[in-house]
Symmetry: C2
Subunit: 91 residues, 2 copies
């Protein structure tokens, strides 16, 4: 599971999606537009993250809303950002 977790986080688009739906839920098209990604690519990434429970979904009519499933996920992203900055100085 840890492999899958970090693999999910290792893609820039997926991390952007997580930030995008970290505070408030959004439907697929909103996410896609917000990040300037193809709808199908967005769906693929959402599926990956849903599969390892990083996000949750909720249907409302024909739209499906996604949001980050736990605050710890954003915390790790934050820590990763800080660490990344720190490591960047060295290489």
């Amino acid at each position: 599971m840890n492999d899958r977790l970090y693999k999910c986080l290792s893609n820039t688009n997926r991390r952007k999606i997580l930030y995008c739906i970290g505070e408030e839920e959004k439907c697929v098209n909103e996410i896609a537009e917000c990040l300037d990604l193809e709808q199908s690519l967005t769906s693929h990434h959402l599926k990956d993250m849903l599969d390892c429970a990083l996000i949750e979904k909720r249907r409302e009519g024909k739209r499906i809303y996604y949001k980050v499933s736990a605050s710890e996920i954003l915390e790790i992203l934050e820590k990763g950002k800080e660490l990344g900055d720190k490591l960047e100085e060295r290489c």
Copy 2:
């Protein structure tokens, strides 16, 4: 850089190596033996992690000692472990 960071963490063998040299430095053969990995595979992984500064090296005679470069790395691993456990219950 964040891509590279999480990519490094996304492999079980690399994470094992990080734990292995998290507390005390070890030379390549010690790491390889400790984790039951081929020497060349160990070297490859070490190079990957050295390239993004997750680890540091120090030569002593013909041996080269490696250790984790910052405590935040182990902290992220810890957080990742906890998060992984939490997510696992859900999928």
